[in-house]
């Protein structure tokens, strides 16, 4: 019971643009996670991977948060951690208003996407989704220019208990930090 109660983040490995697996197709095509069924992709998915339909089923649930993070085509290097947080205004000017997820050493591929499927996201109000990807050799307290990556939604999204999805967040090399 308690396991179910805790934040459930479905961590699919990011797929590259050239990946022909079903996961890749779904992730790269996903712009509105709540509408995706993923039925066509289940057959092509590896046995160990969660079916996409299960991944995306959460996106129609109350208190869900779904969207994708786009990895740049020139991406390389070893990831250290991925922080997905909420801010009421950007660029960040202090501690985040909420933490969605912190993922150690995420498996990301150039040109791929990283699906974010969260249930529940128990926040109230309008927030930007902000992403910091820390790379080996990069920052610990804040992104290091030219090494780490950042990205955010272009507009704040409203959390009010209903299902929430965000447009793709494109990661880019950190600058101006």
């Amino acid at each position: 019971m308690k396991t179910v109660a805790f934040l459930s983040l479905i961590l699919g490995c990011a797929a590259s643009e050239n990946d022909t697996s079903g996961t890749s197709e779904v992730n790269n095509d996903a712009t509105d996670a709540s509408n995706i069924t993923g039925e066509d992709d289940v057959d092509n998915a590896e046995d160990s991977a969660p079916p996409e339909s299960e991944d995306n089923a959460v996106c129609s649930e109350d208190y869900s948060l779904c969207g994708d993070i786009e990895v740049p085509s020139g991406f390389s290097g070893s990831t250290r951690s991925l922080a997905i947080v909420l801010y009421s205004s950007v660029p960040p000017a202090g501690p985040p208003d909420g933490i969605i997820a912190e993922i150690e050493s995420p498996d990301l591929n150039a040109g791929g996407t990283f699906p974010v499927r969260v249930l529940p996201a128990l926040f109230n109000g309008d927030y930007y989704v902000w992403v910091n990807l820390y790379m080996e050799g990069g920052g610990e307290w804040m992104p290091v220019n030219g090494i780490d990556y950042t990205g955010s939604t272009s507009e704040p999204i409203s959390f009010d208990g209903s299902p929430v999805s965000f447009d793709d967040i494109s990661l880019s090399l950190a600058t101006d930090w």
């Binding site: 109660a5 205004s89 912190e102 109000g125």
Partner: protein, 383 residues
């Protein structure tokens, strides 16, 4: 990455900062130039405090006058219970030493380090002033006065390299020549006192703080108008633009936005009270757990903002104890390693049946909240 590290995702490192020793040089020293200026990152015990310690609750610490290396003003001296002359200072970011003394002459920075951001950013010249301005006696006098006011405050622990705390970061009032050059324009606006948000850091009663007030300015001072006037004149000297002021206001508001998140209703099975235990949807553990009347302000920084009127129950985990995880504690329970702050007399909190209350918990004062939701108390299910 820990939650504490995560909350340090901060672009505009300001307000409360960092430290290092560079004793012997003053800002006016000819040999102290931006070309030769450098601040070492914190290390050893200081680094441990910054990175590893939970917030150490601010208290007023007293030391024998005879142990102070400096002239303690007579009106700052009090008598201890055993009749010994002593000087007492709040070891807090908003605390201040008696006039004429630096903070580190009469207080220790250990607690302050845990109350401020823990990252290090070496101060740098953000604005290139013509150093000849220091030849203007009026300017030099006001600049020195403001700097001395800041050196005497808890802010000096992280923002005045001359006091030798071991950690100077972000900006340095002992930076070479025109020390305000270590600020960007919007940062100067933030600390000027133009915006009331600085009050959310907390305000000690001047009678408790050697006459220093921070009602109207970011840094405690005995003359708020004089300090504010200096910073505003600095902005004018730099031809600050409206965009600088807009950014200052945005950053300050953003810094405290967490204080104004409206609570949701608790949502089973993720948040609220389940089988009598307080639960939240986070694997992280809490160091402060509250039950608040429904319309109570969100608890903020200690020691003045953390138990707002309407606090029904406040439980703090002691710094040397492990924080409390979801599902481990009932309302009113005081396990070993914790201190009940409210009710202060140690009596159990009184909750009325059918009344809506708010649960609030945080990993460590104001960092971020783990639960912020309302529930209707029902004696038969919540106890």
């Amino acid at each position: 990455m820990t939650i504490r590290q995560t909350v340090l995702i901060c672009q505009h490192l300001m307000i409360l900062g960092l430290l290092s020793c560079d004793e012997g040089k003053t800002a006016e020293s000819p040999e102290n130039t931006w070309e030769t200026y450098s601040i070492e990152p914190p290390s050893g015990d200081v680094l441990d405090l910054l990175n590893e310690s939970p917030l150490l609750y601010p208290i007023k610490e007293c030391r024998p006058v005879e142990s102070i290396d400096g002239n303690v003003p007579e009106d700052a001296v009090t008598l201890s219970d055993d009749g010994q002359e002593e000087v007492c200072v709040w070891e807090n970011t908003t605390g201040h030493a008696p006039e004429g003394l630096t903070f580190t002459q009469v207080a220790d920075c250990s607690k302050v380090f845990t109350q401020a951001p823990s990252w290090f950013v070496e101060p740098a010249q953000m604005f290139p002033s013509d150093a000849s301005i220091l030849e203007d006696e009026s300017y030099a006098s006001e600049s020195s006065w403001v700097r001395d006011e800041i050196r005497g405050s808890g802010c000096a622990c992280c923002h005045a390299s001359s006091v030798g705390s071991g950690h100077t970061s972000g900006f340095d009032v002992d930076a070479p020549q025109v020390w305000t050059d270590s600020f960007q324009n919007y940062q100067l606006a933030m600390i000027s006192g133009m915006y009331d948000e600085h009050r959310y850091f907390g305000i000690l009663d001047p009678e408790e703080n050697h006459g220093f007030s921070r009602d109207d300015t970011m840094f405690p001072t005995t003359d708020p108008e004089r300090m504010k006037s200096f910073f505003l004149s600095e902005l004018e000297r730099r031809n600050a633009r409206q965009a600088d002021f807009d950014e200052a206001e945005r950053v300050l508001k953003s810094f405290f936005s967490r204080l104004f998140e409206e609570p949701t209703e608790c949502v089973a099975p993720w948040t609220g009270i389940e089988n009598g235990k307080i639960i939240w949807n986070d694997e992280g553990a809490a160091r402060q757990i509250y039950v608040l009347q429904d319309d109570t302000e969100t608890p903020g920084f200690p020691p003045t903002e953390d138990t707002p009127d309407g606090t029904v129950w406040a439980l703090y985990v002691n710094p040397d104890a492990e924080p409390i995880a979801s599902g481990q504690i009932e309302v009113g329970e005081v396990p070993p390693g914790t201190t009940q702050r409210i009710p202060a007399d140690g009596s159990p909190p009184v909750l009325e049946d059918g009344v809506t209350y708010r649960l609030f918990a945080t990993p460590d004062f104001q960092l971020i909240r783990q639960i912020n939701c309302t529930f209707v108390h029902n004696n038969s299910t919540s106890q």
